[in-house]
Subunit: 209 residues, 2 copies
């Protein structure tokens, strides 16, 4: 059983990450979606352990102290983080684990897991991004402006990701993500043991007899 | 029309590169195989412009002087090189151009085309490599030993490649190579123009109105 790949999926809010992930999980069985831990209050319809593990600040800070999170950040006064146990467990089982986190989180994960596969999801254009933000119909003009400003900040970091997924067709994007993950499994970086072994074998053969 | 991707395919002799390339070209129409130029004499059955462009040392050295080769090397007293014109022409047409060259060539190409996609083909094991070398039935014991020693040298450089193709099933490998190339087209590095543009657009939107 090969160890799974750790994947970070980030993207502008309004890029359609949630729908993509749902479809990806439905289509293929090699993925596991990491559930983040947060101290923010559940929104309507959110279920503990599905959208997030909801926790108190105290519990969260204990988790930090125990090095039990592979990344965490404070955002708008609330903690968000990725519990380490679940991720390690799923990777060991051969699952490809997806973290849907922000760029700061991705950078922290990369320090601990340099082989992380980092994908960034974007709508096909800025106009489309704005359209999708407005289309939700749940946000004030001010909130939309804030999201756009945040997107502008996020856009600065896109080159830190290895791949960009331009989300204009759900099925095509799901296939693209899966293709990228399959290709990643063939990277020399992720096949160090095989390479080391065949190198030794060929060395022995070329010296031997 | 998007510019094609430049691909270097290297591998141990006996890894099955030739068969892989033939099958890849037969299966997909987005590839163009670069034909190298050499000063070595044609072997039986080799046709000028198909296996190689055969040239005199004088012509080859003129080509070098005109910067008309994207890489070249001298090996066993003969020059081998990749003419630039054909590669540029095919990339511009949107073709993904494959160079079947050695590691030294790959390193030179990478200096000029940092975005080159470098793949290394290997048999599943050293024993299988030896079996294939012997299986040709055309080589002396001494030649086989030399090839194994050369393979041992090549094995040292495998980590300079991004992907490793373990060739134990022709069709699976062809699909893997194609998948890697398709994924590469989604790399942030190869989508710099799109990223630059959407970054500017979002910046404008977030400031505007």
């Amino acid at each position: 059983m090969n160890r799974g790949i750790l994947i970070v999926l980030s993207g502008f809010s309004g890029a359609g990450k949630g729908t993509l992930m749902k479809e990806l999980m439905k289509t293929y069985d090699n993925y596991a979606l990491s559930v983040s831990m947060t101290t923010r209050s559940p929104r309507q319809g959110e279920i503990n352990g599905r959208e997030y593990f909801f926790s108190t600040r105290e519990t969260f800070e204990e988790k930090i102290a125990q090095n039990g999170l592979i990344e965490y950040a404070e955002y708008c006064g609330n903690y968000y983080g990725t519990p380490r146990d679940y991720v390690e467990e799923q990777l060991a089982k051969g699952k490809d684990v997806i973290l849907e986190i922000e760029i700061q989180g991705m950078r922290k994960v990369k320090q601990m897991f340099p082989e992380v596969l980092a994908l960034f999801v974007t709508p096909p254009s800025a106009a489309e991004l704005e359209r999708r933000l407005r289309g939700r119909g749940t946000e004030t003009e001010d909130a939309i402006k804030k999201r756009l400003m945040r997107a502008a900040g996020e856009a600065d970091g896109v080159e830190d990701y290895e791949y960009i997924i331009i989300n204009d067709d759900l099925q095509a994007c799901v296939a693209q993500i899966h293709g990228i993950v399959q290709a990643a499994k063939l990277s020399t970086m992720r096949n160090a043991a095989f390479i080391k072994n065949i190198r030794k074998e060929i060395g022995d053969l070329s010296k031997g007899e």
